[in-house]
Symmetry: C2
Subunit: 225 residues, 2 copies
DNA sequence: ATATCTTTGTGTACACTATACACAATATGG
DNA sequence: CCATATTGTGTATAGTGTACACAAAGATAT
């Protein structure tokens, strides 16, 4: 059998959250195929870099984002998924805090933009499928891993967390029960700082305590919403 | 940037179950690197076949197994994982019923053998890491998807299912509660057949009803152990 | 400064689910 | 027919999930 080589690319579905809205970072393609169409940022893997390195490099080059959390999603390998020929893509999910950096468009991207996940544009290649897979993963994962905090500021009012979950899960949450459950997990530190946004009682700030989470995980205590 | 191509392979961690023992199918490598050492079966992806097709082809060629269930596990892409140079591997998990076919060794394999998962030999490449990832996936997944049935005969006594779960989860299960829970999910058909193995009261046979499972899944009812 | 509005923060009662637990039924083997 | 092995079954209790309403603290308008 002849040994074959295949073009291998990495794509990253990058989610951000601000004020009750979940967004995805997309680029407008500068070159063919799909020139002028929106796509998930990504690119080809170089011979001497790991997949994760490739993702971070491509994101940095094309969009300027600072990734806060990155996990492998799925590898898409259908034969006809790219008109240029055989391309297999390892897709990743990234979580970022959009307010900690400024995005820009460069290299293969003529534009970079945040899109609300319920108002997505038409996408290139099989990127719609990848994006939907990523959304499903995110929705599933926040219920059993504390990755929601990666989308929030390090210090956040409890209501931000609640709003994030209602948004992501697409259903209302009982405030008292949610608070009881999360605080019962013992992974949040309540700070002595308050913050008030507009009217209403000022909120206490909380902080995710990763060390405590790892301890609990070792003891077999599972995070679950 | 120069567009690069990379050797892409697929590997399949194939699990089988018989009489209270979970096994993994491994091959002994016929050629270098790691000639004579045990490895997870797999091989390079051809240009005109999907990843799943490649997995099934390689398994058929090397070992003769008939795959009953196949799912993508993870893609391993470290730069130095193969001494021949850059090779990225998409790993799969396969479940089979070992008593429905005969394994044989061919092409790259000089031997094929079932190994109990707690008595594994030393493995080639980063295959130990892949295998451990696969075991973790299997253990996690049987608690929220009804994939355990893919390892059993189509008709099975309830005790087989129970033994499978105790083995995989590595802890005892209360028979009455387990039965209550599983039967309460309403995905098993109780047949009018009995089977007796050796001494003891003969057991009723059950059968997994996939249609009913899909119906319930649509209605949002989740399988959970 | 007072009333009104907005958001945060808190406890309890009830339903449901998980868990612990023991003995009868039905076969086989001496 | 007696001992042994395996299947099959119900109930009581603890624990968890869920539903639900009002006070506290600040901002805004009159």
């Amino acid at each position: 059998m002849v040994e074959q080589k295949i073009r291998l690319s990495v794509d990253a579905v990058v989610f951000g959250y601000e004020e009750g809205v979940i967004s995805v970072l997309l680029i407008k393609r500068k070159y063919d195929p799909f020139k002028g169409k929106w796509a998930i940022p990504g690119g080809f893997v170089l011979n001497n870099e790991s997949l994760e390195t490739a993702v971070e490099r491509e994101l940095q080059e094309e969009t300027g984002v600072k990734i806060n959390y990155l996990e492998q999603l799925y590898t898409f390998g259908d034969v006809e998924r790219d008109p240029r020929g055989r391309v297999v893509t390892v897709a990743y999910v990234g979580l970022v805090r959009p307010n900690t950096f400024k995005i820009f468009a460069a290299t293969d991207a003529s534009q970079v933009q945040w899109f609300t996940i319920d108002k997505l544009p038409e996408l290139s290649f099989d990127h719609q499928k990848i994006l939907l897979t990523a959304i499903a993963r995110l929705q599933a994962k926040i219920t059993y891993e504390p990755i929601g905090f990666e989308l929030l500021d390090t210090k956040f009012p409890f209501s931000d967390l609640e709003k994030l979950y209602t948004t992501l899960l697409g259903r209302p949450i009982d405030r008292r029960n949610f608070r009881k459950k999360i605080l019962g997990l013992n992974v949040l530190d309540e700070l002595d700082e308050k913050v008030s946004k507009g009217s209403g009682r000022p909120a206490n700030l909380f902080q995710f305590n990763q060390k405590r989470y790892f301890q609990l995980k070792k003891e077999g205590i599972i995070f679950e919403i």
